[in-house]
Symmetry: C2
Subunit: 144 residues, 2 copies
């Protein structure tokens, strides 16, 4: 288990901001719950008022294929650039499903993805990422 | 100017959690942007997956009365308890408008409000609050 401290997060937000700056996002869309604190910090860093969230729940079902439920999708304007953020790309199934749904629903909106941690064997590769996850990560926002 | 540090926030989340526990919320609804990191921490503390957000923009217009725009309101189920959270009750106009709209839209849902800071002369008194704001507060999530 790796404990991810607040101080490390502050540095990583700066790294993610610096790399995602080229995209010049209009909207930060955070995946709840895990991506929400990151979304808040990035929206402040980008000075973007449009901080939105959506909810995603990944059901692991041994009998069927995994299913990802995506809900509370905000209305996204056409011809805008949306940076979708999450804490970690684990299997990659959640973000892959989220981006598929968003692109179908908003074909004229541009999407990129940014995360703190990624796994090398994930099926989805985010556009912007900070570091590889080798261990189970305990994030500082799970303080209890 | 008062700088609100992460360490102080962690203590205040615990205080807010302890006082809001009696409400037994089913959903945490954070007001973006300011209430979003708080919402994330409280959702984790309450072990609530249903962390939702809405957006609120307070327009200060010297010619007309102040207006508050509320959008990206999630669909809230009836007979559930929703804890609305924000960083600070300043004038109180935003939270007053938010709760008015939500009660109209979801008459069978129960709402309570929780904030970190409140001002004594605000027109809205939250149900759960941690401390009084005497100064302009610089929150740690505005790191830039």
């Amino acid at each position: 288990m790796y404990y991810y401290k607040y101080e490390e997060f502050v540095d990583d937000v700066e790294i993610l901001y610096t790399s995602a700056k080229v995209f010049e996002p209009d909207i930060i869309l955070a995946v709840a719950r895990g991506g929400v604190t990151l979304g808040h910090f990035l929206a402040e860093r980008f000075k973007i008022r449009a901080l939105y969230t959506l909810n995603s729940i990944h059901y692991d079902d041994t009998k069927k294929l995994d299913t990802v439920e995506v809900f509370n999708i905000p209305n996204l304007p056409a011809n805008k650039k949306v940076l979708i953020v999450d804490d970690i790309v684990d299997s990659g199934e959640s973000l892959e499903e989220i981006i598929k749904i968003l692109k179908q629903k908003f074909p004229k909106t541009t999407f990129k993805t940014g995360v703190l941690f990624y796994k090398k064997d994930a099926i989805f590769t985010p556009d912007f990422k900070v570091k590889e996850a080798h261990d189970w990560i305990e994030f500082f926002w799970t303080i209890s």
